[in-house]
Symmetry: C2
Subunit: 153 residues, 2 copies
Amino acid sequence: MQLISRTSEYALRAVIWLVQPPARSQTTRQIATGTRTPPDYIAKVLQSLAKAGLVRSQRGLGGGFQLAGDPAQITVLDVINAVDPLERIHTCPLGLKAHGTNLCPLHCGLNDTALQMEAAFAKTKLADLLNGAMPSIPLGIKLQPDRRSPVPA
Amino acid sequence: MQLISRTSEYALRAVIWLVQPPARSQTTRQIATGTRTPPDYIAKVLQSLAKAGLVRSQRGLGGGFQLAGDPAQITVLDVINAVDPLERIHTCPLGLKAHGTNLCPLHCGLNDTALQMEAAFAKTKLADLLNGAMPSIPLGIKLQPDRRSPVPA
DNA sequence: GCTAAAGCGGATGTCAATGTCCAGTTTGGC
DNA sequence: GCCAAACTGGACATTGACATCCGCTTTAGC
């Protein structure tokens, strides 16, 4: 069981990649290489992020993707919700009349846990994933914007 | 995105069903009907629970399943781990040498969240899902052990 | 010991998430 | 204006979780 879907994971890697300097427009291929994600799939994920307004896309020669907002504002939850929203439990999946609007203890508890998780994701801003509060370097480091410098294997 | 897999959900429903009085041996079919789970699938889930030692199975006429331990001891986490363990992140999925044993900030954070979730699940005992701390009745209520009394639709 | 009720386990089917492919559109540089 | 770089969107392929099927084994009751 995974905490988040692979799609969400890829989306997070992509936006973190875009947050890192130099904040130049990055092509799908650059992002795919830099984040080690399937190129043709990350393309789809980037579409979702663009539709959600988290990234801006630019077509044509010299185009690519850029973060659309402030890294200090955008949260991990924003990113996840853009590509694969985590579902809450609104009605008991058992469809019990007896439970009415309320949830049974089990699903009440599960829902609580989901809310906790959501809160944790909402608290973490993209910017938090950059600076030294954390032990290691975010992903790889993009060096020159044009120099092929994916990530040391 | 679901918090827990359907398999885990089914497993939880099953053990909760078994916790509820009367604590008589319940057949796969009784459990399936009572918890509204696919009969042939819950059978597999029950196998897993049995292998993990959470339930005892009895073959032959009059057989079925019973909870193997103390409802005040068994946790939601125990049940989940028996059928679909939630995975922790031990090494950065990017395979970055730069990160070594450490995780990058992203996966460090995700791992933290996973641990929180695990803690929440570990805190909840099966018995907690029964008594009145919660608003509504656990699942349905099993009335007579033999009387067909699944759950009011 | 025969029979029917019940769990056991392997083989197979289904479906949504993931991943790939390709033709179309936009756009900067010459 | 032409070309090549790049995103866009639809169609298709793959995979693993979920679900079903069926024959085998165990066991209580007669």
